[in-house]
Symmetry: C2
Subunit: 383 residues, 2 copies
Amino acid sequence: MNNFSFVNPTKIIFGKGQISQLATEIPSGKRVMITFGGGSVRSNSVYDQVKIALKNHFTVEFWGIEPNPDYETLLKAVIVAQENNVDFLLAVGGGSVLDGTKFISQAMSFNADPWKLVKNAQLCKPSVPVASVMTLPATGSEMNGRAVISYRAKKEKLAFMSEHMFPKFSILDPEVTYSLPTHQISNGVVDTFMHAMEQYMTYPAQAFLMDRWAEGILKTLTEIGEKVVKDHTNYDLMSNYMLCATMALNDFIGMGVPQDWATHRIGHDLTAVYGLDHAQTLAVLYPAFLKVTKAEKRDKLLQYAERVWEIKEKDPDKKIDAAIEQTEQFFRRVGLKTRLHEYQINDEAVEIVAERVLLRGIVYGEHKNIDADAVKKIIRLAL
Amino acid sequence: MNNFSFVNPTKIIFGKGQISQLATEIPSGKRVMITFGGGSVRSNSVYDQVKIALKNHFTVEFWGIEPNPDYETLLKAVIVAQENNVDFLLAVGGGSVLDGTKFISQAMSFNADPWKLVKNAQLCKPSVPVASVMTLPATGSEMNGRAVISYRAKKEKLAFMSEHMFPKFSILDPEVTYSLPTHQISNGVVDTFMHAMEQYMTYPAQAFLMDRWAEGILKTLTEIGEKVVKDHTNYDLMSNYMLCATMALNDFIGMGVPQDWATHRIGHDLTAVYGLDHAQTLAVLYPAFLKVTKAEKRDKLLQYAERVWEIKEKDPDKKIDAAIEQTEQFFRRVGLKTRLHEYQINDEAVEIVAERVLLRGIVYGEHKNIDADAVKKIIRLAL
């Protein structure tokens, strides 16, 4: 097991009817800016529940934080917050709204060009507290110090991370997810599965307990994934899905283990060039990625085949291939495509994506060996 | 899944050589009281490592916090802390030293009889920060807000819990456990196993992920338990054991699930009357306890048989009996006795322990149905 340090101070308030806790969780006297995305929270009662809970607080609303929250939108929110002397930020929505709100908090107390914060998270400091009412299980932002911010005018999309960006608390009521569109559930299941895989599918690091916990998330998703896509209104299923999403990216399964994240990074390029949703890129890339890296991931692939998919095949190579096939079929069963041609993306993508990787000059993966050549192989297999 | 709220702000610093981090984790200028148990930390280099790391801090030492830390000892420590204007407490030792130190912190800023804090944890407040260098994996105290304090003069031993008692940080270096006596490892393995069981072995609560995580701890312990008892100097094994101990009682596996804790409570009485170690009481009581409660725990016992012990028996009753038998044999394999007669305790214990339960007027278990009569049955089966 590798040395590690772990801390996660976010409070999770989970369950039916918990949005009402806002009334006491946000100290009285706080001047609250509530941030939203589009209008979906108006139609599923979340907006009303939030407003009722905060009826004795000063509140100002900022609407319109878009998916892949944009720097310029967020700067407008900073101005609204400052004009209203806001000292508490409440994000009501999915990962994008919350990521954006984490940035707003940091930018409010930063006296230089705030894009510098995104480029260099070391500049982050204790700032205006952020909390969330999470309506879309997927990114894990509700219990981590991460945010991904886009700057469309500069064609940039960057992730940054700081101990000062953990939400103070997050309220997770599985009932508010009942009205989500199906494709967002499909995306969320795959995103969650991949968050666990990126921390698990590397090489054996003698981290027996962390392996079991990652497998626990993966196994649970294989059991409930298809069901939550078909029926978003089963409380037990949605609550387990929501908890998996939070636990997959709050560092609980990452203690002392090597991590990969290559597929996430290549996926960002596919999104940038072709506009695919983040989860769509993962579902397309990962089966191909595993085929390319199966020699170096051999031991963990065998363990994954055994424990997550319960594959009894004796021949190890066939067992690994079966596990990769099961993974791809799982992505399809929960509603995502797994080949680029299904998105009308052809073999031009091989050079285009590899070029971006080459230009960036970074190699990916737990062995830092996923270079432009490896990316070409992966994209080719994903066609 | 039940509604729940979860927060755990403790930072964990894990791995080889991490005690040196004390130099920076404790802010400079802090006046530190270091608390210790007996002298074992002098012979295994922990004391030296701590003193070197804190060579630029003001430090005062308090020695002699005993197993089952005693109220009167701790009051002496409070006086030393106050006389030295201490504003940081560092516990170096096992769960007893840390539990005692959590109490010292609370008592330092409490202006009435501090035993009231133990009786009513609501009186706890933010106080002098506590941190730990954990040398004995077992109680989970290094990452929770719990403490168990004894008051020998009053024959009382009480657990209390507060959000204000989480350690600021805990340093876990598996290498410092190499010199532990074997019986402490045996006890620690069983204690950790039982912490997971108390949160897991109840009834199905549709908490799929939490079940998997509890099973992850249990399964890991079944794989490494015997090995760590035989050889305390294998880094990989000791680090997994240490991590299991912390994760079994930091609320990570307790989200939204019913909990039992009857065996722990009956065990406290066995300790009080017969002086058995805490883990010894658990190993004796639990197989008997499962036999008495197997009808109400039927579904979870079958799941446990399947997932933790991989028992393939078709007949459900035989499968459950086999799982209970495996549990008892596991306790024996890691070095603990599982019957009272092995401690020269005879059938007088039936009435003596049941009487204490009756007097206290509390019924135990996830169904609140473990009353004095049930306790009699359990003790009788444990003879």
